[in-house]
């Protein structure tokens, strides 16, 4: 889970169709920058946002029944 805001602009991140060392390479639809996970962030590896970072956000990998007990008003994407 990452922030997708940079310089006040929201980016739309999508898979580029490429993997690099078995990890998906993403791109943003607004600038075409390629993004790759690196040290707790997504790093721009090619394009306008070269070397910029989108920070990772804290998240939990769990089961839904546990999650909803702690967060009864949760939204769900399934």
């Amino acid at each position: 889970m990452y922030s997708r805001e940079i310089d006040g602009q929201a980016l739309t991140l999508a898979p580029s169709g490429w993997t690099y060392r078995r990890t998906f390479v993403l791109y943003d639809k607004e600038t075409g920058t390629l993004w790759y996970p690196d040290r707790g962030s997504l790093m721009g590896i090619q394009g306008k946002h070269f070397k910029r970072r989108l920070p990772m956000l804290e998240s939990t990998d769990t089961k839904f029944n546990k999650w909803v007990k702690e967060n009864p008003a949760t939204k769900l994407m399934k």
């Binding site: 980016l11 739309t12 169709g17 590896i45 090619q46 956000l57 967060n71 949760t74 769900l76 994407m77």
Partner: protein, 130 residues
């Protein structure tokens, strides 16, 4: 004598197969196109991707794989939240996040097939991926 010959033959076959595997594994990487100072890779749709800056960071074009095209997956978005009541006993695996007065859960199975979900946690734009 016959046994020795047989052993040599088996050893030869094994070495030949190993050399073949090595050759295949070395040639399966993505070929890079060099144009002056720039480096490109080409995906299966024929689209050329400039990776010059990535290469300057140490990325090796050989390790870019698949290249199935930028439209192979449809990212999820705000239209994909479940509208119907949720089954609170479901044991499906999710990635959960809280903040800005909201809680989100994303089915990992769903993320597997779409790869990214672009949403907002309150006013903060976030992307979920798996």
């Amino acid at each position: 004598m016959k046994t020795k010959l047989k052993r040599k033959w088996i050893l030869f076959v094994i070495l030949f197969a190993f050399a073949g595997l090595l050759l295949v594994s070395q040639s399966s990487g993505t070929a890079a196109l060099k144009e002056g100072e720039k480096t490109y890779i080409v995906d299966q749709t024929g689209e050329r991707w400039n990776i010059t800056q990535a290469v300057s960071l140490g990325f090796n074009p050989r390790y870019f794989e698949f290249g199935i095209g930028r439209n192979a997956f449809t990212p999820l978005g705000e239209d994909n939240w479940q509208e119907s009541p949720v089954d609170e006993y479901s044991q499906m695996r999710v990635i959960g996040i809280t903040g800005n007065g909201e809680a989100h859960a994303y089915s990992i199975a769903k993320l597997w097939s779409h790869e990214t979900a672009n949403t907002h946690l309150g006013s903060q734009p976030i992307v979920a991926g798996y």
